[in-house]
């Protein structure tokens, strides 16, 4: 890998031990992935939750602070394992809040904006076309690449902060424009497209669609045709949620939506390869996806959750409208996740109160994924959710079982205690 003078200076320790440490790692990464050079970094997004990083992660960040590390680019952070506004509503294991607080303290020292959000692309750290990212968080990186035309891999939680401290990152994967071309083709049946989404169904439908696309494409860049032009932000957020639980890459070339995919030809970098691997997505595929996402047939639910990725203000309005004057059934917990910024707006709009009056809880800064779910809910718990991502990531031995349905289905389950899916049956 060719290093610039600035890279060499940083590698030689002229900008301090934190920068040198970071550069040493980045050079090894670049060599492993055959990068030819480093590029300037423009934006960073880091992992925050203690549940995932554990004691090692905490020590990692504190070490960077000790070495005098500071983020050289605008930096935000993912949700954490705590909701400061609702600490009493959850049963955190001993030592959790203290350690999570130490992570926040380290972030302040490093100059990380304390956003605790998995949707930085919608509000706190919006990337631009052509910008170089070192971001954790699949849905965010997916959206940034696919919808905004920014450039970044789903960076791991070690490399992302180190790149931010060095201000540089090796150019490989999606940071290299040459790799931003389609490798397979997904065609959406127009009849399916007409039926997809709408109020109360948007999130579940488009997350399921994202999963179908992601499972097919897996480690390839899919070119997707048949979507509407001018898809809503919430629809695209839901599709891009597939980047991590299904698609391991982070770029979907959505023809008519992605700035780099004005036409299907442009998406393939010239001509559509004649023997390109194709997938046709119709209503049957959608039905199967919904089925696949339930791992129990039990009707009685204990927990209902929505907001993975975090809910936008419009989705919170949608929840409030679906709840109407109903109240959540005794013994059922209905948890809606969003970030502190959206929570501030929701409060000003009276939505937080409306949700609380119904007996549901709008949390900030955290989600089920960041919580020790085995400890909190245990394996007998049945969770209903409209999130494909949460369902895929947080299911497994010793964990709760899941039912998958639309927001309408989930809200009804919260009100009645019974999950009775009404969509794609």
């Amino acid at each position: 890998m060719r290093l610039g003078d600035i890279d060499k200076r940083r590698l030689d320790g002229e900008e301090g031990p934190a920068v040198r440490h970071a550069m040493e790692h980045l050079v090894k990464m670049g060599e492993a992935f055959e990068a030819e050079e480093m590029v300037d970094l423009h934006s960073c997004h880091l992992l925050s939750d203690y549940r995932t990083m554990g004691e090692g992660g905490l020590q990692f960040y504190e070490q960077l602070v000790e070495w005098g590390g500071a983020m050289l680019v605008p930096t935000t952070c993912d949700p954490m394992s705590m909701d400061l506004k609702n600490m009493d509503k959850f049963d955190w294991p001993e030592g959790y809040p203290e350690r999570q607080t130490r992570i926040s303290d380290a972030f302040r020292e490093l100059g990380v904006a304390l956003t605790f959000s998995c949707t930085p692309h919608l509000g706190h750290n919006v990337p631009k076309f052509g910008e170089n990212l070192a971001w954790v968080e699949g849905n965010a990186t997916g959206y940034a690449n696919s919808v905004l035309g920014a450039r970044g891999n789903r960076e791991d939680s070690i490399t992302a902060p180190l790149a931010g401290i060095a201000g540089r990152t090796p150019k490989f994967g999606l940071l290299d424009p040459r790799n931003r071309v389609g490798e397979c083709l997904v065609e959406i049946d127009p009849n399916l497209m007409e039926r997809l989404g709408g109020d109360g169904r948007r999130c579940a439908d488009f997350e399921a669609l994202g999963m179908i696309i992601g499972d097919f494409a897996y480690d390839r860049v899919p070119v997707v045709v048949g979507l509407r032009p001018n898809m809503e932000t919430e629809e695209l957020k839901a599709i891009c949620a597939a980047c991590s639980p299904a698609l391991i890459g982070t770029l979907m070339l959505l023809v008519g939506v992605s700035p780099e995919a004005n036409t299907v030809e442009e998406a393939f970098g010239g001509e559509v390869p004649r023997d390109v691997d194709r997938l046709w997505v119709d209503a049957d595929a959608m039905r199967r996806a919904y089925e696949q996402l339930s791992n129990t047939a039990k009707e009685d639910v204990d927990v209902v959750m929505s907001g993975c990725p975090f809910k936008t203000i419009y989705e919170i309005q949608e929840v409030a409208e679906l709840l109407g004057d109903n109240t959540v059934e005794d013994g059922v917990k209905f948890i809606i996740h969003t970030d502190r910024v959206t929570h501030v707006l929701a409060e000003h709009m009276g939505l937080t109160d409306r949700i609380a009056r119904a007996g549901a809880l709008l949390t900030t800064d955290t989600c089920e994924y960041c919580m020790p779910i085995e400890h909190m809910y245990g394996p007998d718990t049945v969770i209903a959710a409209d999130s494909m991502k949460m369902r895929r990531l947080v299911a497994g031995e010793g964990k709760p079982t899941w039912r998958y349905g639309t927001l309408t289905d989930c809200v009804n389950a919260a009100i009645t205690g019974k999950f009775r899916p009404t969509h794609w049956n």
Binding site: D40, H42, P74, R108, G111, A113, L114, T115, H121, L122, G123, H124, V126, K128, F129, G130, E131, N132, V147, L148, G149, P229, N230, E232, T233, L236, V257, S258, P259, I313, Y314, Q317, R340, V341, V344, L345, H348, M349, G350
Partner: protein, 425 residues
């Protein structure tokens, strides 16, 4: 203008009086600007401040509420004439708070997200490539068109909410892709680029550069070459601030940055016209612009203002670093403007405390532009600011006089009470 069946239904009152009222206005607008059709609208940003819209504006919004109007699209609103966190720090004229409250209430009923921000495109209502917008606010519309590739005119304060209610807008100006091509050429001298911007100088330099470009382009679309490959949000925000105090259009085609100007040729829609009107911008032009923005040579300042457009979190950080451990001089007021979202993050990061300890004020939801500066500050006051926009919009008979300098200069002025510009001298 060709109206669809859906348009006609709206115009005939099939969706209620408010939608009909809105459509009637939009049809007249479309006819006046020779639009051939209406297009779907995707995002709205409306006016809020009582100082500008007055009681006519109150009547206008309340009338929309009475007609049952609702904006069911992603939306946001401009800063207002009030800072609920610090109302005691300002001397509002009689009736202001009441008038403003009526607008706040009406906007809430209309379903507008209470952002009270002129930089909502960075944190609350982020448009996408090709989104159709009905936005007021020049810097925002400029950024959205120029940097994101969304489509919208700087819509007037009447048409914007009406379009939001109708969810349609006549396709004219920047909403028509056929008009999004360059009309004139701006070449930035490489020596200037080497010297421009940097810590403490970013806003003033790039706002001044924007004014040079905007004064030249005026009602044409400038194609700008010679900018760095990558520009920070703060630099771009400052540059496009020219859309309103200098340029009457809202699109700058920044070659290598705008998604629609990947090359010089693309920016001109194919080929650079042989006789295209061209300017070359050098250090001398920037020096001259700094001079033009000064209205007085008085050194003693009464008020120091920064944050037009609203400060980002990074800029609030920059400002606290510039202040360091220093204190604002007795008798000098130092106002820093931002929105409630950024304020909340700044609070979490401990920046608000630092600013207050220095004797400066970080406000939310409002700015000097939304205040009656004649009554609040009076004509013998001297204001130092790093905002070209504020300086151009708020100078004139019976108003305070202005000095223009970098953030470093204005922070020093706040601390010493003396404005001693050091930039481009």
């Amino acid at each position: 203008m060709n109206l669809t069946d859906a348009d006609k239904r709206k115009l005939d009152g099939g969706e209620g009086r408010a939608v009909q009222h809105a459509m009637e206005h939009l049809v007249k607008m479309g006819e006046a600007f020779d639009a051939e059709e209406m297009v779907d609208l995707h995002t709205v940003h409306v006016f809020s401040d009582y100082r500008t819209v007055g009681d006519g504006g109150v009547n206008f919004y309340e009338n929309l509420v009475n007609m049952g109007g609702h904006i069911s699209l992603p939306s946001s609103c401009e800063p207002m004439s009030m800072d609920r966190n610090h109302n005691d720090q300002f001397d509002w004229p009689d009736g202001y708070e009441e008038g403003q409250q009526k607008i706040v209430d009406a906007l809430a009923t209309l379903g507008v997200q209470p952002t009270f921000s002129c930089t909502h495109y960075l944190n609350a209502n982020v448009p996408k490539f090709r989104s159709n917008m009905a936005w007021v606010e020049g810097n925002a519309t400029g950024f959205a068109n120029t940097v994101i590739g969304a489509r919208g005119n700087r819509e007037d304060a009447v048409t914007s909410p009406l379009a939001g209610i109708a969810r349609r807008i006549p396709k004219y100006g920047m909403l028509d892709p056929g008009n999004r091509v360059g009309d004139c050429l701006v070449q930035i001298d490489p020596h200037l680029i080497e010297r421009i911007g940097g810590e403490g100088r970013r806003t003033a330099d790039f706002e001044a550069l924007g004014a040079v470009i905007g004064d030249f382009a005026y009602d044409r679309i400038p194609v700008v070459t010679g900018l760095p490959d990558y520009m920070q949000n703060e630099e771009l925000k400052a540059l496009v601030t020219a859309c309103s105090p200098a340029m009457t259009t809202t699109l700058m085609l920044l070659v290598g940055i705008s998604p629609e100007a990947r090359t010089l040729e693309e920016a001109f829609g194919g080929k650079v016209p042989k006789d295209v009107d061209t300017i070359r911008v050098t250090e001398d032009d920037l020096r001259e612009m700094y001079g033009k923005l000064e209205q007085t040579t008085k050194e003693d300042v009464d008020i120091v203002i920064s944050g037009c457009p609203f400060k980002t979190l990074q800029e609030v950080q920059e400002l606290t670093q510039q202040l360091g451990a220093r204190k604002v001089a007795d008798g000098v007021q130092f106002y820093i403007f931002t929105d409630r979202i950024t304020f909340n993050m700044a609070e979490d990061m401990g920046l608000v405390d630092k600013i207050e300890a220095a004797g400066a004020l970080l406000t939310t939801d409002t700015c000097s532009w939304c205040m009656p500066v004649e009554t609040m500050f009076g004509p013998d006051k001297v204001i130092a600011s790093d905002s070209m926009k504020m300086r151009r919009l708020l100078a004139g008979d019976g108003k305070p006089t202005w000095r223009y300098g970098t953030l470093t200069d204005v922070v020093d002025a706040a601390v010493t009470g003396k404005f001693k510009p050091r930039r481009w001298n």
